[in-house]
């Protein structure tokens, strides 16, 4: 996974709450067996609407999504994160993320930056009044910044320490855990014999 320190790119105001994973990418698009090529399915039901924000040329090359609360609710499909990444998004800013979506983002290298709801509102106002304006998501300082002058937004965001560290270092979780293999083996030896197995050994 590539390290993420800071990213600056066009901000996209997605003025909706409860953007569930079926909106991010419907199930019919989940049949690929690769991690790429999911951009076609991203927000597919809305992409047909000429008024949809990503159909506005000013936002089409966006890489920082700013969405309403409860972003990513529903399914555990990591495809939702891949679809955003495949399209070109590096970060999502919202006042509340669903747990599994947040976790999947951290594993796949998409920054889920949780901010106060007022910050989302101010970013929306700024991005709507200045289409194509850039937003900076700085993981090192945990800040989100956009615009300048009186409308400028400069605020902190929440992301858990461990995920932040892993993203900054670009570390692979499996590799870290395999470093603790002796602990796993010791735990396995202590498990009760009546615990179920899916196949008998030997």
């Amino acid at each position: 996974m590539d390290a993420f320190i800071s990213h600056t790119g066009i901000g996209v105001p997605l003025k909706r709450s409860n953007v569930d994973t079926d909106q991010i990418i419907p199930a019919v698009y989940l049949k690929r067996v690769t991690r790429s090529g999911f951009e076609d399915g991203l927000f597919s039901a809305w992409r047909g609407d000429p008024g949809f924000v990503l159909n506005n040329p000013a936002y089409a090359a966006g890489s920082v999504l700013v969405a309403g609360p409860d972003f990513g609710t529903g399914s555990s499909r990591e495809h939702a994160v891949w679809a955003l990444q495949n399209y070109g998004f590096k970060a999502v800013v919202s006042s509340r993320f669903a747990d599994i979506f947040r976790s999947n983002s951290g594993k796949a290298g998409l920054v889920a930056a949780q901010v106060d709801e007022k910050v989302v509102q101010r970013l929306w106002e700024l991005l709507e009044s200045q289409p194509g304006a850039e937003v900076t998501v700085d993981l090192e300082s945990r800040t989100v910044r956009a615009g300048d002058g009186p409308d400028a937004v400069h605020d902190s965001f929440d992301i858990d320490d461990y995920t932040r560290w892993r993203l900054l270092e670009g570390l692979d979780d499996v590799g870290i855990t395999l470093g603790h293999e002796a602990d796993i083996t010791a735990y396995e030896a202590s498990r009760p014999s009546w615990k179920p197995v899916t196949m008998r050994r030997g």
């Binding site: 409860d70 555990s76 499909r77 594993k107 499996v174 009546w194 179920p196």
Partner: protein, 474 residues
Amino acid sequence: MGRTLSEKVWDEHVVRATPGEPDLLFIDLHLIHEVTSPQAFDGLRLAGRSVRRPDLTLATEDHNVPTLDWDKPIADPVSRTQVDTLRRNAAEFGVRLHPLGDVDQGIVHVVGPQLGLTQPGMTIVCGDSHTSTHGAFGAIAFGIGTSEVEHVLATQTLMQAKPKTMAVTLTGSLPAGVTAKDMVLTLIAHTGTGGGQGYIVEYRGQAVEELSMEARMTVCNMSIEWGAKAGLIAPDQTTFDYIEGRPEAPTGADWEAAVAHWKTLVTDEDAIFDEEIVLDASRMTPFVTWGTNPGQGVPLGASVPDPGSFEDEQDRVSAENALRYMGLEAGTPMREVKVDTVFVGSCTNGRIEDLRLAASIIKGHTVDATTRLLVVPGSVRVRLQAQEEGLDKIFLDAGAEWRGAGCSMCLGMNPDTLEPGERSASTSNRNFEGRQGKGGRTHLVSVPVAAATAIRGTLSSPADLEAVAVVKEA
């Protein structure tokens, strides 16, 4: 200070705990299906890794398999590739697989409990958010993404920050005709879709204790719909009776040892939850959704709400969008909503008790001429059991379609989908826009409401059928 049930189960699975880092948790059972696993196996292959514990791993085909012609090659080439990929991966990495056509094939969350693999005190994960179903047995069970699937395959562990704890206490007894589904839909309307976020929830109280094992699974299944990390119920005699004798259940001295341990899996009297919700189950009624998230629901006897009645602006906008999408007018009685398709099935309501309940209501009636009823068993075993009891005949005689096992119309990955604008009453778990097919409109309902709706063609409860029968007799 005492510990809650979920804290006890969590503590038993900590492989490694370090301040400032998530706990490393051992996973007792990893369930796999065709949709969220291919990229995980690819990751293993790329890194030259193997599956650490194939003996704690089980795969089945459920999400995109057809419920007709399942003995023929899958017609959709992309679905077929995904299923073939699972078969290749299972063979290469030595994972037990129940493929299409196998007697133990079915929805992953129906298959685990049915085989007796789901037991109290376990940690269970799957690349599917409805893994919360298994919490009904007193297990910590939750959905994970594909990167985590790869992590579990490689290490049989997961890094997890310990969630907060919440108690949902359901007092009193559910009235007759009101089900576990109504209970959980009422709860979600109360909390909203984000109310459980960051919590492992324990459902307790008289109304929960009185539920059958399968009804408990319905409640825990929808924990994710209000954002909870997991939902669980303390194991009791109902749990033990359900597990005993199943193919993978412990036997003999192992059974005694297991039950002795399971009996310790209760929240201590002096344990403190971070949060508590109390709801009176005795006042609950059949509950249906009107909107596009599972929290947008009302009692069947109520009307479509006026978006203007919501104080919160986000809720108001969300309701306006939902009514537009659903093609509903504020103030319309829910009972007047005409339904095109009724779907009985899914990991929420696709078990044998659900089919028995549906059949008991449909028996002697005919499905409305302008409505189609799709009955999809959650597993092949459920299908065979239903056929042995003659339930298939009741459905077919009424004019319903009796299908093969799988996720089917719950998420429309297979050919069972709604057309744009088509309206369903569905016993599944999500009413998101386009969930059951692009432009499809979903009302989440209980099994009795689904059955009565199929007969009347509008959202109904079995009580409405009795009224019709009385009028006809008079």
